[in-house]
């Protein structure tokens, strides 16, 4: 299925050339997003599809610069939003579009929606943000792994023994209590995602279900999109630890 753009295509791109598929997985930290991407990659490769991935701060152009800005906390919300959009379009234009032209399956570990939501909860106008990303590719499928903030908190804390400054929205002065700050921030993000889900037609999945259940739901939708029958999958030894 040909991927399309929201508004005008990026300069110099012919949408009909893009024969691959763009599949997006969105969700908060702790929603199981990255685990699912790893499993889907293995499944698709075992089915014979070549896979490319993208995510946040992974561009050669500014990925490391954003890491530096986040560490300093001196950056303003607008500048940060625009640095993230630079990071996004650098990956899209130089890595993802060539992959889609070659017929690959692109799995995006978050996409423009997280970027829009983060900036919107910080008071930047939604119209402004949609205006910037109107030249982005419209995904073939967008999944939203929805979890309650409390569950995300438990999972994140278990994983890294701490909660990140930005994921708890501490730049927004919501609460001095880290747990409260995290929950309030994630609730704001969730509201923004509800809005985006209606506007862009997300496929919402229960991120609190077991890894294997979520994975089966993802595979069913993706298999139908790719018109393949094989939805049977058991993770290899290397990924078996993710399977719960």
């Amino acid at each position: 299925m040909a991927a399309r753009f929201y508004g005008l295509p990026l300069p110099g791109i012919r949408p009909e050339e893009l024969s691959g598929s763009l599949i997006v997985v969105e969700g908060a930290d702790g929603s199981g997003r990255s685990t699912q991407i790893s499993l889907l990659t293995e499944w698709l490769e075992s089915e014979g599809f070549a896979v490319e991935t993208m995510g946040l701060r992974r561009s050669y152009l500014v990925g490391e610069d954003i890491d530096g800005l986040l560490a300093e906390n001196a950056v303003t919300r607008l500048t940060l939003a625009l640095m993230y959009s630079t990071d996004f379009f650098d990956q899209l234009e130089r890595r993802i579009l060539p992959a889609l032209r070659s017929g690959l399956i692109v799995l995006a570990d978050r996409y423009i929606f997280t970027l829009i939501a983060r900036a919107a909860v910080r008071g930047i106008s939604r119209d402004y943000l949609h205006g910037i990303y109107e030249i982005a590719l419209r995904p073939d499928l967008t999944f939203w792994l929805n979890v309650r903030p409390e569950v995300a908190f438990d999972r994140e804390f278990k994983k890294s023994q701490t909660i990140s400054y930005w994921e708890s929205g501490r730049d927004m002065s919501l609460s001095n209590d880290l747990f409260q700050s995290f929950v309030r921030y994630q609730l704001l993000m969730k509201q923004e995602f509800e809005y985006l889900s209606n506007r862009h037609g997300f496929i919402e999945l229960d991120g609190e279900a077991s890894v294997s259940e979520v994975n089966r739901a993802l595979r069913t939708r993706i298999a139908s999109h790719l018109a393949i029958r094989g939805t049977q999958y058991k993770p290899s030894h290397a990924l078996a630890h993710l399977w719960r």
Binding site: L10, D65, T86, D90, E93, S125, Y128, M172, L174
Partner: protein, 244 residues
Amino acid sequence: MATATSEVLTAERPLAERAPARQAGYPGALVVVEGIDGSGKSTQLYLLKRWLEIGGYRIHFTEWNSSPLVKSATRRGKQRRMLTPTTFSLLHAADFADRCERQILPLLHGGYLVLADRYVYTAFARDAARGCSPHWLRNLYSFAPVPDITFYFRAPLEVAVNRIVAGRPKLKYYEAGMDLGLSLDRAESFRIFQERILSNYDQMIETDRFVLMDGTVRVNRLQRLMRQLVAERVDLTRFAPKKK
């Protein structure tokens, strides 16, 4: 609940339709110079700045693309020639947003006369010449305060191009617009690129209320005119040194 603390980013209308700086709720004023390379704008703004400095006025001078924030990314992108029209534009927008939020706006609120060597019109003219959609660019920069005066220095293409080509041993890759594949000859590519930019500037004269300045007029005569226009349009007493 997060609140939008700033009045930036609320305007979705094009710059030209919005109120000039003085009605925008801050005591400062913004004077901008625009024009293609070699039009004489920087020389004239420098002389204006000297005049105001010597008079003891509260002023601040700022120029396009001068913040350390995106310097490493810009350098990296230019060295490897990996900037696309979109990422080139976004990187400059991030840089401008940083300057705007941390320098220009606080100074305007603090009652300064801000002098800007190039402003958002540079992005409108140059990035559109690279193929970005003018509509997309207007949205991208819609957070920028509207100048009180925008001087547009206009010199005939050949005059401006000769000033630059004669004074520089080698034109840089992006400066010459080599990324557009206009010509293999740098000087020729530069000329074609500047011609496009000039035509884009010309189209903004009315919509953005540019004050047209003839870049072929003798430097001191042009400066006299510039000072006269600034004095007429900006209440300079607001920025004058306090009498004791």
